[in-house]
Symmetry: C2
Subunit: 535 residues, 2 copies
Amino acid sequence: MTVPSHRVGEMSWNAWGDPAHATALPESVRGLIADVLGVGLTAAPRVAEADLAVPPGALPPAARAALAAAVGDGHVDTGAAARVRHAGGKSTPDLLRRRAGDVSHAPDAVVRPGGHDEVAAVLAVCEEHHVAVVPFGGGTSVVGGVEPLRGGRAAVIALDLRRLDRLLAVDTVSRTATLQAGLRTPEAEELLAAHGFTLGHQPQSYEYATLGGYAATRSAGQSSAGYGRFDAMVLGLRAATPRGTLDLGRAPGSAAGPDLRQLLLGSEGVLGVITEVTVRVRPVPREQRDEAWSFPDFATGTAALRALAQSGARPTLVRLSDEAETFVSAALSGARATGGCLAVVAHEGEPEHVAAVRALSAAALRAAGGTELGAEPVAQWRHSRYAGPYLRDALLDAGVLAETLETAATWSALPALRTAVTDALTGALSTGGNPPVVTCHVSHVYPEGASLYFTVAAAGGDDPRGRWAAAKRAASDAIAACGATITHHHAVGADHAPWMAAEVGELGLEVLRAVKGVLDPAGVLNPGKLVPERA
Amino acid sequence: MTVPSHRVGEMSWNAWGDPAHATALPESVRGLIADVLGVGLTAAPRVAEADLAVPPGALPPAARAALAAAVGDGHVDTGAAARVRHAGGKSTPDLLRRRAGDVSHAPDAVVRPGGHDEVAAVLAVCEEHHVAVVPFGGGTSVVGGVEPLRGGRAAVIALDLRRLDRLLAVDTVSRTATLQAGLRTPEAEELLAAHGFTLGHQPQSYEYATLGGYAATRSAGQSSAGYGRFDAMVLGLRAATPRGTLDLGRAPGSAAGPDLRQLLLGSEGVLGVITEVTVRVRPVPREQRDEAWSFPDFATGTAALRALAQSGARPTLVRLSDEAETFVSAALSGARATGGCLAVVAHEGEPEHVAAVRALSAAALRAAGGTELGAEPVAQWRHSRYAGPYLRDALLDAGVLAETLETAATWSALPALRTAVTDALTGALSTGGNPPVVTCHVSHVYPEGASLYFTVAAAGGDDPRGRWAAAKRAASDAIAACGATITHHHAVGADHAPWMAAEVGELGLEVLRAVKGVLDPAGVLNPGKLVPERA
């Protein structure tokens, strides 16, 4: 089998995921939110799709004809429904705008190539006709990465990679697989499972995000402790650019100069369109053991995770919620609040390996002040691991501003970083003496440091987008001032581009611009993302 | 303490390492070589340093004055002794040339800056005065990486980083250290040991190679299974370029665009001069357990190493010699030849972790057909682990052509790769019906593949450099045809540059040229290395 038997459907145009899975705000949470935020909840209705004023598409007829010649007429879609569904990503500002009925930025067409060569042909057409191209995988970006900006051109297309959905090769000896970029994770997992393999990559966007998107944005999955970040899984990749094809990665280790794969990983459609990835795969684990741990406070829990990450006995999954997130999660699941901080831990693999590593890691966690709670809290976490974005829609429906952001730093820098970001968000979003709810967790650990992931809920007020823009700016400035990275796994997109100079320096930006100048001299690829305009 | 108490001395100008450690060819080996290669051994004397015709330095007086202003007059050395000692690296062709008295390529001066700012100042002077700059660390390159090519300019200097020898910072919580680029490994280890840490990086060039050189060439150490490649250890780096300073790496994981560290890692002094690295360090291990294993043949041993690399129970050190190398190593050490293939394995770390991993890995090796031989063969290997280059000098003294080369590929590609390279070397170096001795080992393993390292000994004949050039070309063509990487850890330098188009494509080369155009627009940095001229 080379294509999946079951296809993941399209997401709702103005909310996360499958409309059938939309959830109402639990009564317990309604009361909690109103008490804590000090505001009455209000209904914030969405404009219906039938009432949208979709601007007419501006794709020049000659460009449309050339695109149709490249991919087939049926795969160039200028209809309103498709264009609205490619009008941006899934950040809270994205959703607030579309909920309010603003689809003025919808692309002029949605083009669906059938393979690498057709992607290359589309890029050639767009270069010739001065049409901007926004590569579109699952559409799950929360940083403005798929915002259809025109970059001064007459028109923009969404390059939907949905049809690149084949498993091209499996090497069972070397444990690698070559897959096309448009595969959703459940589809890829189905194809790999037929060979006994798994990717082990489970970000919160698991059900919709694509393999090409993971590579283009340096995604990290919830089991990154065991399976690694997605960029670390990529042995090879193929990318189409307006100036030709790049085939990169010839060995699992190489000293043949700079690693050019690492230029395409994280390139977010600005340098080329990743069409295939050759990734490390692992046997479907024969055993999975879950165990939750409780720590008296976040500092103790963080030190315990550090001990694990720095030992040779790393679990497959390990994440730690702070006191506030532990409390809110318990309230959401109806579980008894236990106080302290909850960590979920899981081990996967061969039974004898799981047993050995589990014994070592449990001893380390116990020595670091942890108390084992058994498997049940992990089961609860697994049950709702992909549900957060649906809950956000329910909060937005109730007039609450809810969003997340994330960063990473060395272990020694984490405490000050957490304080600075929390203070920035609190300062920007307090209203009438009531601070926002800011929770934090550690979800990706390394020997040298970890990521911090913040979830924020605040009263929406009259201008929730404006309020969030100010809060995001304050938090991002705090991250930069701490010397941390502006993003650990959400990528740059349009939203983080202003902080890229802090990240890599002005000279680093010039390097990126020079690379783009070679691969996309006309500048049609995903304008306005990743690399800011020259100051 | 921030500087080492003991300094590593300079290497011999026409041989490897410390002249006091030079070795004569053991009688047993003399007989063996003569028998196998079918040629009588001849004395191949070296031209004495006093008899060298060192060309006069061509550094323009204005450039010399500006360099003296940048680093201090005492650190601009135009004397013959220093220039001869920076006339190239330590490949067999390098040594054959210098042994024959050819130092026509010696640089026009050796400049020794005292820190990052002085490096930057030197680059500015060289750009202004059109002087080529060859960054020089330990001088251990075996691929022509420190060959002082002028690239069409009037003069070339060796930029010796010897004085950048400080430990700048240690973060004991995050287990990172920031070190200057000119530190030799034993010096860095002394500084780190004072804080209880080690790098764990032990390539064969351990005693002389520098940290900056490791980063610039993507070195891999003998314990790469446990400590990782050097490029994987680098969290951050600082590089001086003619267009400014790059400070890269803000977190252990990031999605902030392409990873520009990975452009400087492996850049071999062509894009900038790495002056500082922030690296992962590990506690000095409390336990080390050595164990050798025997396998009936190389295919069985390779499959066993693959099982280890793909399990979660990876040793710190694991390498496997083929039948020929196993035989030769035994002959060299005077040990009883056991037949089959020898693997050396070691585990380092906390005692309980070592015990757990050792039990799992021993079970895997036994199940894969291995027989445990105890610790003694590993002790023998440790005793001579850095001695290979001294033995090569003894072989060259006896008129034998001896050299090494290496590559890497996926596990499934290794058997055909080994055959193709062996056949290429054998075809090129057979004389009078006598084939060369070609041995092979696996010294770096990954879940997806491994490196192959070949050692060759052949009759030198009248034109050993010409013979090696032909053999190297044939082997490199075979590597490229197999889809393997042209180098796993020796880097590109001048010698592998012709195969870079096969490695990254012509478009990949254009990307590298564009990056160089931004960072070194005048093209003064290490001309003729890494990126070939446009076809």
